[in-house]
Amino acid sequence: MAPVRRPGRTLTAFFLFFLAVLFAAPFIGPESIGPGDLFSGGSTTRLFIFWTLRVPRLLLGLFAGAALSLAGMSFQTLFRNPLATPFTLGVSSGAAFGVSVAVLTGLSGGLMMSSFEATPLFALGGAFLVVIILYRLARSGSGLSTLHLLLAGVALSYFFSSLLLFAQYAADFTQTFRMVRWLMGNLETIGYAPALALLPALLYGVAILLINRRELDLLLCGEEIARSRGVPVDYLRKQLYFVASILTAVTVAACGPIGFVGLVVPHVLRLLLGESHGKLIAGSLLLGGPFLVACDAVARNVVGGSELPVGIVTALLGGPFFLYLLICRRRRSAGAR
């Protein structure tokens, strides 16, 4: 038997979690800052850390987490496969290759990703290269062949990964270090530029997905049913592909490939809220962002002093959690028979 779902209550709980993270996260970090420091003329260092490092980092995390969750949800619906992730089609390998080019050609700045730097642009370029090649390969008639998309995506992903290996081989020690650090996925940021750069893509993605939420529900029922109910399946698939790709590309460009958020969050949402896309989109916004920010808080504070990249933590938490979900699901479906 399916568990009794109370989507209203669950979404309210997510909203409370969202608020808690929003107000708690900027105060967590190696330099302890309390709410009092913000008002009673606290030290300028602390104010600087709060407004230039922590709040931008919080916003970047909220936006990136939401974007990755939405991208994961979209690809899972597009392929009707619960194992699809934002990186299934190799968008992140393309971005990684772009970054390696930036590092090799010396166009990338220092170790930290500052706001005015060429690295995100190269990452975006590499990501869109993959998106466009894939689109051309998978176009068929008036539609998009999801099978070709998946196969070509996997092939392209391997190809760009090997190019990345080649670039690392050709690079010197510090350059290789920089590429590897980028690949870990990080929310480190100075100033608001990276977060603001994410916002237009996120708003665009949310709008397109919300407008098409009913169509997405029907697409999940299979192509035949969707078409017979009047869904323009070919057009919808193209839109879905581009929305998910753009969300992934801009996020990877801003923070590197942060894994598992796009897999785990949509799964938890489907489990708790059901499969209707209106609820999944709301859930992605309310849970995806805070989840990533919470992971980041853990990453920065648990291993004393050494600020871990959040990508390592999401992978460490996400992998076992996903296995746990799988086991629960198998138990449940075994019980239903």
């Binding site: 038997m1 399916a2 009707r80 407008i211 939420r213 009913r214 169509e215 529900d217 029907l218 999940l220 029922c221 299979g222 192509e223 035949e224 049913i225 078409r227 017979s228 109910r229 009047g230 869904v231 323009p232 489907r270 059901g274 499969e275 209707s276 239903a336």
Partner: protein
């Protein structure tokens, strides 16, 4: 209601439909029979919009389907595919309500009317008790009923059903045919039903259309089509026929045990 005129379909050179013409009138019950691979399902899929029919070959309510946008067409024709999508992740209630899609406004808001029609369709088919159950946990017959209720909720003027009784036991088959009859009587819906069940088609349908190798072999009332001669031509084998004890409609008997000598 539905008019097919000279529809041919030959993907990759294989001729599946060869100048097929047929029509289904308002409130009419038409059964489509023929051997496997005759093109029955392909014809239905063209009418349902799963496959795009060429211009000038398929008309819904007198309008060329290739001129209609998908939602408008879905307000005229609803489709019940063969139950081979067992992995639909929604509950029965959600699936039936989703079928209101072609009736929703652009923003996709579901109204009280939509919920009312969905509930009425589920009650009509007798699945209101399983509204909260996930599709995958239902039996084959129940899944078939959910898809039928969804098609009824879509509020179209013709239902296209692809082998709605496969995998069902005899009472189950009777029930589906009774439900289709009921939908026709209660809502005035026309029916085009692909089936291998010649007997139930003979009892329920106004007309039977027989297809063989993509061509219409016979089209007429059950008494004209369900004859030994026509069925031999359609299926390429002999048939033993009798009259239904109540309605007098032709019935196909098993030949095994019936052969002489």
């Amino acid at each position: 209601m539905l008019d097919v005129r000279n529809l041919s379909y030959a993907p990759a050179g294989a001729l599946i439909l060869d100048h097929v013409s047929l029509s289904v009138g308002k409130g009419e019950f038409v059964a489509l029979i023929g051997p496997n691979g005759a093109g029955k399902s392909t014809l239905l899929r063209h009418a349902a919009g799963v496959l795009p029919p060429p211009r000038g070959t398929l008309f819904l309510d007198g309008r060329d389907r290739s001129d209609l946008d998908a939602r408008t067409a879905a307000r005229i024709a609803a489709y019940v595919p063969q139950a081979r999508e067992p992995d639909i992740p929604f509950t029965a209630g959600e699936i039936v309500l989703q079928a209101r899609y072609p009736r929703l406004s652009t923003w996709g808001r579901q109204t009280e009317e939509d919920r009312r029609r969905a509930a009425a369709a589920m009650e009509e088919v007798g699945i209101d008790a399983m509204a909260d159950r996930v599709f995958a946990t239902l039996s084959g017959g129940e899944q078939q009923k959910v898809l039928l209720a969804a098609a009824i909720a879509q509020d179209a003027s013709i239902l296209l059903l692809d082998e709605p009784t496969t995998f069902l036991d005899p009472p189950g088959k009777d029930e589906i045919f009774r439900l289709m009859e009921g939908a026709r009587r209660r809502w005035g819906i026309a029916l085009l039903v692909v089936t291998h069940d010649i007997n139930r088609a003979s009892v329920c349908a106004d007309r039977i259309v027989a297809l063989r190798e993509g061509r219409v072999v016979s089209d007429g009332v059950p008494g004209e089509v369900a004859t030994a001669g026509v069925l031999r031509e359609v299926y390429g084998s002999e048939f033993l026929l009798a009259a239904h004890p109540v309605s007098g409609r032709p019935m196909v008997l098993p030949r095994i045990g019936g052969e002489e000598g």
